[in-house]
């Protein structure tokens, strides 16, 4: 249910940044010293003698012989051929599984490569934000200085073909995967420009595209200049970019600041550290690390004074890990936190390389809030709980056979919530297609130049979905943001 509910929101986010968020969404990582492993682990695999030593050491824990015994049983008896490397990976994964810690994981060589891509601050492609509009891949905006901009691509351009291959019927992810590719390679896009009926073919040379994790904005509310900085994840350049953006906003004379970490799955510890140093004065820690032996290490900033302007933080269930360090530190330093309770990841991982390209990411510490609370599996509660309107959580419309009066289906409930969200009253939202729902559909159809049949066919469904996506993107409907703006002044 939850997964479904969040689907449309995710889709909208996907549509906004050209593929880059794709990799981030699944990653909830937060590493200390991720790049540098300590010498001790490295030495484990550095020489053959060490390997031998390790093998000998295992006699000390003779229970481990059982694993070898099991390996032999499987290899000798199983009715199909077994691959040794797969069994070895399985054994490692199996040991980690017993910890019942979703953040302690084994990654083989291929997974490591994917993961590294995901935490790098760039990807290779043409550099344009795209979204799916009326079933067509549509450019939202080319990124500044990107190949897409250089090639003259403009907002609202529809991408019909990639290298002569039609994108019709493909979902956004699949379409994006065809457009992306290695730096230096060329891709031919067939484009239909708004107001034109003849498609044109444009060659674009792919390049390395920096991934933005900071989206600053200035909004004037009741005559007050307010800075809003959205942080989409904590990657290598995030803190520097945040600090730059903040300096720029301050230069513009903002009278208040909103930091938005909604949907931010976390990232590097050092990155959130440098951001917090702006706001948490030196007399209180901004986070504590608890070691295995129970010892607590307090982290302090070198900042003398709080900012003079008011600051609020926006969170939701998708704010995890480093986002929660930020939210907890800000909350306990007295700043308002608005939105929903965060994800609840209160641990710190280290990545240890195995020497063959694979590695083990393992939980090594708990982190505690400045007041010493462990938020694991609980999350950070906002100071002001605000949910988004229900239509934010609707699923994409699927119309296999048209929906009409007296039908009853869960998918109709979804459509009813959408209608309600954009101002048409369907009478009920439980999936029963009542007379009043029919009237709401007719009203929607009339106002959108569709045949006012009261029946939801594919065309009406697509239009409805487009309207809902527009409404989700409209900041006026963002109740959490609106409440934060109210709260600031």
């Amino acid at each position: 249910m939850d997964v479904k509910k969040r689907y449309l929101v995710v889709m909208v986010i996907l549509a906004m940044v050209f593929g880059s968020i794709l990799t981030y969404v699944g990653v909830e990582v937060f590493n200390i010293g991720q790049a540098s492993n300590n010498d001790e682990e490295q030495s484990l695999i550095s020489t053959d003698e060490d390997k031998q030593k390790v093998l000998e050491e295992q006699n000390e824990f003779n229970g481990f012989a059982k694993v070898v015994q099991a390996y032999n049983i499987i290899e000798k008896n199983y009715f199909e051929d077994v691959e040794q490397s797969k069994l070895v990976e399985g054994a490692i994964q199996g040991m980690l599984d017993t910890l019942e810690d979703p953040h302690s994981v084994y990654m083989n060589k291929e997974m490591v490569e994917q993961f590294n891509q995901s935490i790098e601050s760039s990807f290779e492609g043409i550099g344009a934000e795209v979204s799916m509009e009326d079933g067509q891949v549509t450019i939202v905006a080319p990124i500044k200085g990107s190949p897409a901009e250089d090639a003259g691509l403009r907002p609202k351009d529809k991408i019909l073909e990639v290298d002569g291959e039609s994108l019709e019927g493909l979902d956004l992810n699949t379409a994006v995967s065809k457009i992306r590719g290695e730096k230096g390679t060329e891709v031919e896009l067939t484009i239909l420009r708004a107001g034109s009926s003849d498609p044109v073919t444009v060659p674009v040379v792919r390049d390395e595209i920096p991934v933005e994790t900071i989206y600053p904005e200035v909004k004037t509310v009741d005559g007050k200049k307010t800075g809003i900085i959205q942080i989409t994840s904590f990657s290598q350049n995030t803190a520097d970019e945040f600090n730059e953006a903040l300096a720029d906003l301050e230069e513009q004379g903002i009278e208040g600041l909103i930091i938005d970490v909604r949907g931010n799955p976390g990232g590097l510890f050092t990155s959130v550290e440098k951001i917090l140093e702006n706001f948490i004065p030196e007399d209180q820690p901004y986070v504590m690390i608890q070691e295995k032996n129970g010892e607590k290490i307090r982290y302090y900033s070198g900042t003398k004074e709080k900012k003079e302007y008011p600051i609020a933080v926006l969170t939701n269930q998708g704010s995890a890990s480093a986002s929660e360090i930020l939210a907890a530190a800000m909350k306990e330093a007295g700043y308002p936190v608005i939105g929903q309770t965060t994800y609840g990841k209160g641990t710190v991982q280290k990545t240890i390389q195995m020497g063959d390209g694979s590695n083990i990411k393992i939980t090594i510490y708990r982190w505690l809030t400045p007041d010493g609370k462990w938020i694991n599996e609980k999350g950070v509660k906002p100071t002001m709980e605000v949910e988004q309107p229900e239509f934010f959580y609707t699923s994409p419309v699927e119309v296999e056979e048209p929906f009409e009066y007296n039908m009853n289906d869960e998918k109709i409930a979804n459509v009813q919530k959408m209608l309600e969200g954009i101002g048409y009253d369907p009478g009920r939202t439980d999936g029963y297609f009542s007379k009043q729902t029919e009237e709401a559909v007719q009203a929607f159809q009339q106002e959108n130049d569709l045949n006012a049949t009261g029946v939801i066919n594919e065309e009406t469904g697509q239009k409805l979905q487009q309207k809902v996506i527009d409404a989700v993107r409209n900041q006026k409907n963002d109740k959490q943001l609106q409440e934060a703006l109210n709260e600031l002044y």
Copy 2:
């Protein structure tokens, strides 16, 4: 969906045999030589020298050192204490997981003990079939010669308390677990007998109760005496009991036979072998075993002739493993198989003991049908496909708040299917409580001495469920059985 659909059927089965089926239901096993392991495996763990040898052998596959390395990393770094024996078990389970074979599993000592109980032909308790009727644990029948019979318990007795503790509000499984217990221990049951208003307390001394896996019956249809043998699983005594029951039926002069393996999850290979020898003549194999190297071993019976009377087999999706060997052999020998496609388990497992009470059950062979087909993940298709009426697959009624006109809920769909199944037309079965559904509810209430409100409250729901359970138990509604009887003559 499937799980839900099957729930009520399972509940009914549960209600029929006092707890014993509980353990069988989850077990899909089928072993060759389960009790005897070959010497080679045993020697692996027999002496310390052997252990040492095994450890040395692992240098030959140096990839395994990685498992040891991972073990050390976890032990040294993880933020909580780890248990060595758990990691070892995790590693073994992890290796087996990579096989992607649900039937190759590791069982630790505790699991082995549970499993052994489940394949033994007895359990310890009082020996009565019970069911849940109108929210009360009710005796269906005491098993012949059981402590329950000796203590004078009768069908329809309600069990109110166990050792002074009320059973009110408990589900059947929990209630049964309180009544069961070790052989020789005493339990005091507080019983309410039909027609009496004063409960009585009866002491019962628990004993070992044989588990019946064979349920023979004679039915006269169109003047023809027909034997029906239901096999609920293939355990140690099953073949002997089957053969006894068959001899008895033949003595009674049956003119046709139905073998019912619906819901039978399988069991021991030797058990199905001995049953098939009655029916498959010696000129064709009744099963083939395919070894790892591809070699096929054909199994033949010593039987000269087919039986003179017609025979049919009943199957459904719950017929697995040994049941499928039976169904496939019978089908390919020309007997009709009626019902639904079987589960689809075409492999044979062996259990190898690890020497410390734990063991590994591992798939060692495929079995093939006499014609050489591998039915794994496909199942055995019946010669005549017959589904049970839809109300067989309804779920237990849950009424948190009463259901009434114009409500819409998946649970109402369930109730509508129940009403339809026992002859009241609710107009629709999609969960929308229409006027016609209301009329059907009123009709049901009138005929069952309930207030004809047209609203489904707890009382109406319970009554409806009882009626449905009665209907499921009524052989006249068993479409598969009825078709098999038609098919025989």
